[in-house]
Amino acid sequence: MTIPVTTAPAASRATARTPRPSRGAARGRTIAQRVGYPVASLVVGILAWQGLASYFGPALVSSPATTWSAAVELTRDGTLIESCLVSLRRIGLGWAAGILVGAPLGILMGRVKLVRTLLDPYIEFFRFIPPIAFVTVAIAWFGIGETSKIVLIFYTSVFIVTINTIAGVLGIEESKLRAAASLGASRRQTFVSVVLPATVPTIVTGARLALGNSFLTIVSAEIVAAQSGLGSLIWTSRNFGRIDWIFVGIIALGVLGFLCDRAIRFVASTALRHYGVRV
């Protein structure tokens, strides 16, 4: 088969199948690569951080040790866990809604030229307006409660999922669709049995990008109007002059984002592996 240029997944599956030289050698290299390197990198990073902290002093940079004790303190009184859970919940709901709307919308736009022509200008318009521009109106429209934050996360997720899904639908090889039709599939059957599975990889890509956007957005949303969440924690810490707490909040965001992405990658590489999802 000529490797289809439009579908990166095929190429990635090909690499995934590359045989390893031997079990022992593979294990040795795997441990070095998967544990050793990241740990070494982390150690270097912390040392550099410590260096910066010593250089700039505790008023500007909280040292690793101070940050650690701040983290312990915030964990003990429950603030850290609660902030994480609250932010995660908002991200989870908004992001999931973004996928649930964006993926079908993208498929519809990819399949029906008329819908694409009608909606494309809106997608192209809104996707350039960052959610932070809408924070104030969102609060005015949806109140200071959870809804406004979830809506903002939804907003930041939906376009990127839609655009990726459209690209996926348009990238389906004509021959696959023709094959389905000539094998007797109706339009609906082609949709369910060919278009949907063929689009899974780009939906996942869109979802991953959307998750990144969600983390960027949650802070702006929570900074402006929230009594809880990591954004709020960071903002409140500023008012208390606790730079170490700010550091804890920032690191918690990064760690959460990392873990969420790992979770998506895990699902993609297990449950969705056969759809050619590249992670």
Partner: protein, 288 residues
């Protein structure tokens, strides 16, 4: 073998069908893209159970003609019928083997690819399993039933395509250079297999190729097209050699030579070169 000119064939099309309708009937088929006429005035009848190879210079319109036969594109001009009924769109009676195995469903196993057509048509699960098993054996992929297309070699993938189409029991199988992407050895093996499968099934086949030997090995009739634009049928060769065919037999060599001269002239024309060597029409030239 005999060489027929296209002209007498067109004359018969006006006669009302007294015999059973041909598997495929093309009458004055023309295909235009905007103001570009790719194919013009193609008359062709394919008998039930016949294996027809379409040969012609690159870009003359073989794929275009085949996609019209498959119902993917309506002809801009003329009539195209399957067993006496106009072809309105793709349908399971018209199976298509594509040049590229991109047409396979990469997320399905070999078995599920083969079962796709029957599943779409509502064949029950038990019967599907039988069909799959039979066709896996037919193309020699029983051991690879649970692999997915990206895990197969090029030749195996094309065998999956063939099995997938045959599992749907089409009246007519249309193949567009199905072995075009394969190396010479694999190609030869695949030709032998296809010849065997076809003799077993006796289905009607229209097979596009630009490989003269491939055409003579497989076909009951080789149809040579003229160079485009406005490509049509140049000549038709009846191949009456016993199967499986020996590419080194004198009759094979002679036919190969005749067809090659015929095509070389068209290729030269399509590339805008002077038609050196071949003058006159092949119908007059070749007499085997």
């Amino acid at each position: 073998m005999t060489i027929q000119s296209e002209v007498p064939m067109t004359a018969t099309t006006a006669v009302p069908p007294a015999r059973p309708a041909p598997a495929l009937h093309l009458d004055g088929v023309g295909i235009t893209f905007g103001d570009f006429t790719a194919v013009e005035g193609v008359d062709l009848d394919v008998r039930n159970g016949e294996f027809v190879c379409l040969l012609g210079p690159s870009g003359c319109g073989k794929s275009t003609l085949l996609s019209v036969m498959a119902g993917f594109v309506p002809p801009s001009d003329g009539v195209i019928e399957m067993e006496g009924h106009a072809i309105k769109g793709p349908c399971p009676e018209l199976g298509v083997v594509f040049q590229s195995s991109d047409a396979l469903f990469d997320w399905l196993t070999v078995s599920d690819n083969i079962a796709f057509g029957p599943r779409m048509r509502g064949v029950d699960k038990a019967r599907r399993a039988e069909i799959v098993e039979e066709h896996l054996r037919l193309v020699g992929l029983a051991q690879h039933a649970d692999k997915r297309p990206p895990q197969l070699s090029g030749g195996m993938r094309q065998r999956v395509q063939i099995a997938r189409v045959l599992a749907n029991e089409p009246e007519i199988v249309l193949m567009d250079e199905p072995f075009g992407a394969l190396d010479a050895q694999t190609r030869t093996v695949m030709q032998v297999e296809l010849d065997r499968i076809w003799r077993q099934r006796q289905s009607t086949v229209v097979f596009v190729t630009h490989d003269i030997d491939e055409a003579i090995v497989l076909a009951d009739r080789v149809v040579v097209m003229t160079a485009g634009p406005s490509a049509g049928i140049k000549s038709t060769y009846q191949v009456d050699l016993p199967r499986p065919r020996d590419v080194d037999s004198p009759a094979f060599v002679e036919l190969r030579h005749a067809i090659r001269e015929d095509i070389t002239a068209e290729v030269a024309k399509s590339l805008g070169l002077p038609t050196a060597g071949t003058t006159g029409t092949p119908e007059q030239e070749v007499r085997a």
